[in-house]
Amino acid sequence: MADIQLEVRDLRKTFHPGLFESDVEVLKGLSFEVRRGEIFGFLGPNGAGKTTTIKAITEIIFPDSGSIRVCGLPHTDLEAKRRLGFMTESPYIYRHLTGREFLRFCGELLGMQRSGLEERISRVLDEVAMDAHADRKMGAYSKGMLQRLALAQALLGEPDLLVLDEPLSGLDPVGRRDVRDIILQQAAAGTTVFFSSHIIPDVETICDRVAIIVEGRVRAVGSVAELMSDEAECSEATFVGAVPADLRTPLLASHVGSDASWARVSSAHRDALIQELADRGARLVSLNPVRSNLEDLLMRHYEGEGS
């Protein structure tokens, strides 16, 4: 299926650290599909196996079993590798190279035509706003600058599929915004983006679809809206003139502030709360629906581990 840009099927990987250490089963039959043109979030806590999966996709490690297809080709195919742009978890450094020399090196590895290469390098440097620093040694770069250069390198070969491992982690707010903008731009230009994160808001705001990975398995896949559709909505009320402890309406949570009180009720009990507050002569200051967010969902998946 040409419309699936990245297909990972039943991936398993056990590490054998050494003679006297026990084996670590990191991937336990992990599967998911990324469709053409979407931004796909790979969300899971630290140690879930995100980086291990990405290393398997990029042939840095070899899975014990399972299959991976990139752009409809086996991931080991050189053409598949040419179409894939990859950025590692933490930026790598060649201290002896300038940013521009590094990109030239990457271009040669990609087998890019020498004629257009310099122009293309200037383009991507411009895209990641690194043109001003391109001729300085990478050893002198800040973490944010390295991240941008790593991103430039991933974009260099005009990939159909971008695979980014924690592209937003460890950046300052401006850096995060910039990288997020670049991801969105790339997606708008038709590139499929697959990126991992352990930070929920990163995924929530820009992903078309999300896979939740916990302990080497995909627990749920879907759009953010889909993942939360079966979650009961609830409401948060702020009011004066009544104490939450006195209320008969069942509350999910409450807090007594110096001026006003705050309570959260499920949607089913929202009208009862309004009624009761009116009956008691209390004044309702605000009432807002809150959707249970991805975090709650994730927490439930994490907690579901033990059972």
Partner: protein, 255 residues
């Protein structure tokens, strides 16, 4: 092939910017001071002493470069994860290894050429003799270094950095004692000890085959067969050792 060349060029550039060529200065000092010193101490043929000392120093410093570079050859790329960036691109693992090997060979070659050039100039200035056979001896040492570099590459993928370098050094040392090993196998008492020494003899290259110092220094005839044989010998070993390195590296999980 472009990827191989790019990786070799990058390895070369890294070594140069790491100032590994400064070792050349060490050689220059040894050569100049040494030939003055020996020239004063001995009454014999000063030219021969300078040539002999120079060729041994060339060999020693080239070996030093190979051993030092093997320390970081693969491990630096793996530890700093730059290797991830390379292998995720349309590059095969054998291309990476070959590129690394050729980069190492190029660094040694540039050094060795400079050193040989200096030796020829020194002989010319001190003794007013232009001896182009020194270039021949240098070329044969280069062949030896190409063999040593293959072992350095193999050990770099087999073991940890320091151990790998020590093993490369051991190949150099034992490789020059090959004949002695052969004698040992006949003289040692225990059958086990004999077997161990014999294994080492057959597994490690005889690097003396590339040593034409005596012939060059003393203007002796050089049998063409020995030269051809040395070339064939080098190529076979290099191919074999790099093949083994690739066998290990081909499906190695990188962390």
């Amino acid at each position: 092939m472009r990827a191989v060349v790019a990786i070799a060029a990058n390895t070369f550039r890294e070594a140069i910017r790491d100032r590994i060529l400064y070792l050349f200065l060490g050689f220059a000092v040894v050569l100049l001071v040494g030939s003055k010193l020996f020239g004063m101490l001995t009454v014999g043929d000063e030219t021969r002493i300078i040539k002999d000392l120079g060729l041994v120093a060339i060999q020693f410093f080239s070996m030093l470069i190979a051993v030092m570079m093997s320390l970081l050859l693969i491990s630096r790329e793996v530890d700093s994860r730059t290797v991830f960036n390379i292998l995720a691109k349309p590059v095969r693992r054998w291309q990476f290894l070959l590129g690394k090997y050729l980069g190492l060979v190029a660094v040694v070659a540039v050094n060795l050429t400079l050193m040989t050039l200096l030796l020829v100039v020194v002989v010319w200035v001190y003794q007013h003799e232009l001896d182009f056979m020194l270039f021949f001896a240098g070329a044969m040492t280069m062949l030896e270094m190409a063999v040593l570099a293959a072992f350095a590459t193999l050990f770099a993928v087999l073991t940890r950095p320091i151990l790998g370098s020590l093993m490369t050094l051991a190949v150099f040392v034992v490789g020059h004692m090959s004949e002695d090993l052969w004698l040992l196998t006949r003289q040692l008492p225990g059958a086990f000890a004999r077997a161990v020494i014999a294994t080492a003899y057959y597994l490690l290259p005889n690097l003396e085959r590339f040593d034409f110092h005596t012939e060059v220094v003393h203007d002796l005839p050089i049998p063409a067969a020995a030269v051809v044989w040395a070339c064939v010998y080098a190529i076979v070993i290099i191919v074999l050792v790099l093949y083994l390195a690739n066998l290990r590296f081909r499906r190695k999980d990188l962390m």
